[in-house]
Amino acid sequence: MHITDGKVGARELLGTVVFMIAMKATDSTPDLLIYHAMNASWLLSLLSGLIILLPLLLLVGLMKKYNTGLHDLLLRFTGRWVSGAIVALMFIGLFISTTINARSYVDIVNTLFFPQTSIPLILLSLLLFCSFVANRGFETIGRVTWLMFGVIMIVGTLLILTTWQHTSFSYLFPLLGPGLDQLLWDSLTHSSLYGEIILIAFFFPYVRSFQAYRGGIMIGFGLCVFLLVLFNALYVMVFDYPAIEHMAYPYQQLTRAASFGNKAAHLESVFLFIWIIGAVLHFAIYLYLLAYLFSRIFKIHEFEPLILSLAGMILLMAGFPKNIIQQNILRDWLISSTSFMFLLLPIVLWGLHLWKGRTS
């Protein structure tokens, strides 16, 4: 019996976007931002968001004109082989990113909470659960993320309230950190922080209407930028630069600092619980996206069985990095190299659209 039409609305899309991107404020991404931008990591995330806004608007405009998803746009403008190559590039980039990210989340859990449990075991559990969630389809993922969205917002507010007494606004100064020129360059190379907002355009066929898509994406994007800026600022406000440069996992440390009044309330277990749920949803979305991209290269129609095999491959590949330092280096290189792809793709597509419009 069909209760739904299998499509998602704006709310589910909003939840999906938030779990894809805003979860990056809580893993090892702030380490990279702080390494580059010192105490101005919040400004770095803000500038990156502003930089990727233009390509995003171009893409949404294109989708409105042709009322179709990113894959069809690519096919229309670049033909079968070039679009296949572009999607393959995106797939490889996203695959390496998911592998390293999954490994970093597992490292966080292993270092801080379960030191004696073996890393492959935690990796197996994580990927198994994520593939079970992803197997249910995009609509299910969307609805679960919308369900958890309210919970995450409440818990996030609780975190801010309980750590507010430890914050000091003055620690954000000097505002420009390493200097405006370096900040601008770093925000350009790190704009693939928000790169998945371009990739979500592949799922346009699953969304009910263009208005729903636009509403979900723009509100979701704004909310993600806000959350990333807020959390990066919060880390510096509580721990102060340069102490935070030596800290490996700022989000988990922040939850340890959360307290009601003066006594340590050990609230970090509540926040850990919610974080794990967020992590599972985060990777479920990535797995689904990876399976989708893979199927688009080779024109496979039923791609949900691919999810489990991709999860298996990620499990094998994620064993490669030795520890968090290697992962951070790889991650930095990956972010810098994929940024330009995400930035240029909508601009190139728009350019092709204008060119085709002129000649036809």
Binding site: T111, F113, T117, S168, P174, P178, F239, A243
Partner: protein, 422 residues
């Protein structure tokens, strides 16, 4: 017939599915996280950790392990057990000391409830203080919000002797003291997080405590004492007054309670918002007046970094509540006397504060007031701030402190009652 065979096929499919999922799930339920599980009764919670210097650069680590049955309704089952167990081990660092202690204590020692760290002055004055603390922070179990107390004597002696008569559970003593510190300001708020922020040449103040009794050099008025000098007879053993001054990872001196109070008051925000002090009576030589000074708003700090030498001006708004007039002078209904008292308090405060600021500049050569955070606001990039080198210039800075005292209440009497002599 067709329906039942379809149903039969569905049943087969369903049962295969269930069996398949159980084959995957069950072993996982048994394997996941089992390496890190532990029962609560197998844990020994350390609530106070003491660090001393031992020969050969080693550490003498003291664990005070709390007995959870004391102070709870379970007390009846453990009547003869003491409230805590103290174990001292010499090792190279805390983690190895913990491993060694696990050979003595049958439970597994863990740090999840560790809230207080006690360091002896000997260790604090040695170059080992910084690497001890920094290597401790690496452990995930150690919290950055742990309080740090520096003691005159060895930490082990302090922990053993610190048995307050009305607090059986050791962690409660430190917890309650913490609440008092926040109000009185006679002791700084010091935790590891604050220490790790002050590593670039700022001065960091840590709580100073002792169980020894030291003859104070001269009899001073209340808060001019350091730990151990407060004149008491037959009281609880430990005293926490004043602070230890730490700069660049080493302890370089101590402050009295009053100086610590000035250090807390001159900071931009936060603690030490009300305390009771006495001031000399301006109209009667030798008598004192006791007031409670309340700071409701933050201190206004202005830093001017346009010149070679930074100029800092600090303004404090204090409200005074007059509680006791020993000399029976009428400061209540006499308006001029009120103003006189206010002015006299302001002058005394400004004089003492400037004395302390000069001491911080000349003797400690560092900034205990977090004024460098205000200075940072004047620069756009980190490099500009480092190039100006505020902390290096601080000993030469021109500092001006201005107090604005307003008497807001006088207790529940008007002018002091006098003995009528006929």
């Amino acid at each position: 017939m067709g329906a039942s065979s379809v149903e039969g096929a569905n049943f087969m499919k369903a049962s295969i599915l269930i069996i398949r999922s159980m084959v995957i799930w069950l072993p996982m339920l048994l394997m996941a996280g089992c390496a890190d599980r532990i029962e609560p009764e197998r844990l020994a919670h350390v609530v106070v950790l003491g660090l001393d210097l031992a020969e050969g650069g080693k550490l003498q680590v003291t664990f005070q392990i709390a007995n959870p049955q004391v102070g709870s309704t379970d007390r009846g089952q453990a009547e003869n057990e003491p409230p805590s167990d103290i174990v001292t081990i010499t090792a190279t660092d805390i983690l190895t000391a913990r491993e060694l202690a696990n050979t003595i204590i049958p439970r597994q020692i863990n740090f999840t409830h560790l809230q207080t760290l006690i360091i002896s002055e000997e260790l604090a004055r040695s170059p080992h203080l910084h690497d001890t603390i920094t290597s401790m922070v690496r452990l995930p179990e150690i919290r950055r919000e742990m309080n740090m107390i520096i003691t005159r004597e060895k930490a082990q002696v302090f922990i053993v002797k610190n048995k307050p008569r009305l607090e059986t559970r050791p962690h409660k003593y430190y917890e309650f003291m913490m609440d008092q510190w926040e109000i009185s300001g006679i002791v700084p708020l010091s935790n590891l997080n604050e220490y790790l922020k002050d590593l670039s040449g700022e001065v960091y103040l840590a709580i100073y405590a002792t169980t020894e009794r030291i003859e104070a050099p001269t009899f001073e008025f209340e808060a001019h004492y350091r730990a151990g000098e407060v004149p008491t007879k037959k009281a609880d053993p430990a005293q926490m007054v004043g602070s230890a001054v730490i700069r660049e990872g080493k302890m370089i001196g101590t402050l009295t309670g009053e100086e610590t109070r000035y250090a807390m008051m001159l900071k931009k925000q936060g603690k030490a918002h009300s305390h009771i002090t006495s001031f000399p009576d301006p109209l009667k030589e030798g008598e004192r007046v006791a007031v409670r000074l309340i700071r409701n708003e933050g201190t206004r700090i202005q830093v001017d970094v346009s010149d070679e030498v930074p100029k800092i001006s600090v303004e404090l708004q204090l409200y005074a509540q007059l509680w006791s007039i020993q000399g029976l002078t009428n400061y209540v209904t006499n308006k001029e006397n009120q103003l006189l008292l206010e002015r006299s308090i302001e002058e005394k405060l400004e004089r003492e504060t400037m004395k302390f600021v000069r001491r911080a500049q000349e003797e400690f050569r560092g900034d205990p007031f977090d004024w460098h955070t205000e200075a940072k606001k004047k620069f756009w990039t980190w490099n500009d701030y480092l190039r100006y080198d505020f902390l290096d210039k601080f000993p030469r800075a021109e500092v001006k402190v201005h107090y604005d005292v307003t008497i807001e209440s006088f207790g529940k009497q008007f002018e002091p009652a006098r003995v009528r002599k006929d």
